[in-house]
């Protein structure tokens, strides 16, 4: 459900979502048929599949908001899931959200609230020197080290050609 405070099945006219009054958005993403796995093993998969929606939004400060059935049932207001990271762009796959920050850091976090709270949480530097605190939600960062993966590419092509040479 796109309007988190509503119980209607269909909303026929655009309307404002009150928590977003006076907030500008940098990016917005809608997902359909995504979210926590256990919905997909429901007996009426096809019926429920199209109703599992999520909406992810980034405000002008770079905080990420999330709501929808794929995030968590019965949540009436958009919730901040990632704060203070200066996020510029967001994307969503079937069960993860990817958030790209202004400095080029790529965060990957689960879509559903349950997974965000139960998954492994990374250490975050705090304002007290030498003291680290746990992040409030489960996420990880993805990096692209160049040399390393070029090596992997080479390795893969070698094994492929090697296998071909063996069979012929």
């Amino acid at each position: 459900m796109v309007a988190p405070d509503s119980n209607e099945d269909y909303i026929r006219a655009p309307r404002r979502i009150p928590p977003f009054n006076n907030i500008l958005l940098r990016d917005l993403k809608l997902g359909n048929g995504v979210g926590r796995m256990f919905y997909t093993v429901h007996p009426v998969v096809l019926n429920i599949w199209s109703k599992i929606t999520i909406i992810v939004a980034v405000d002008e400060k770079g905080n990420v908001y999330e709501w929808g059935i794929g995030y968590g049932k019965g949540i009436k207001e958009p919730e901040v899931v990632l704060a203070g990271k200066d996020i510029q762009r967001i994307e969503a796959s079937a069960d993860r959200i990817f958030a790209l920050s202004k400095d080029g850091t790529l965060y990957s976090l689960p879509i559903s609230k349950v997974d965000q709270q139960e998954g492994p949480k990374p250490d975050e530097p705090s304002w007290i020197p030498f003291v680290k605190s746990k992040a409030p939600i489960s996420y990880k960062t993805l990096t692209v080290p160049l040399e390393y993966f070029d090596k992997y590419l080479l390795h893969l092509s070698e094994t492929q050609y090697g296998a071909q040479a063996d069979t012929t």
Partner: protein, 210 residues
Amino acid sequence: MVLKLILRRISDISAGRDHLLILTSAGHVYAAAASHNYPDKGQLGVPGLTWATRPKDRPYDSPLRVVTAGYLKINQIATGNYHSVLLDYNGGVWTFGDNSYGQLGFDYLPDQPTRDSPAELLLQSFYPSPITATCYQIAAGGMNSFYMVDAAQQQDQKVTADVWASGKGLWGELGNGKWTHVQGKPTKIKALSGLVECKHMPPSEMVNTV
């Protein structure tokens, strides 16, 4: 060190249902598994990569380098649910992944429903020889790909912009007025094609010409 950091800065991301494409400011593309289903339709663009052959020394969702023939620099990335589209700096389009609806821009082949390495889509072949076709923007969504092409006449340098679409058209997604289930060869979207840029024309004059 700083230069190195700048070179590998992530400038754009695009996610399909099970995969993620990452574009760095150096024009390199990386692909990563992005959900509980390991991408098995070739949408990662790394030849021979499956759950069984994945690199075991790192998490399964680590980004892996995707290269085109000639290691071309990539300008834009786009992803549909199960396929990927790349646009290089020469205006060439590269596609890989699922082709069950023709979303890669060539006809569906029963023995090759997916393709796991980037191959170039020759948009030039849809134009007669005195016209040079350069793609300047790509888009993808669901089971569709869209290619925005600048077609330049070689004699008078007149440039028109065309939009081509391929993939699933059952619900009218192709925008060509037909309900084609599978559309491999891209079709032109008539309403958005043959457009000429007229930025030197004042608005009042534009009203008169229409």
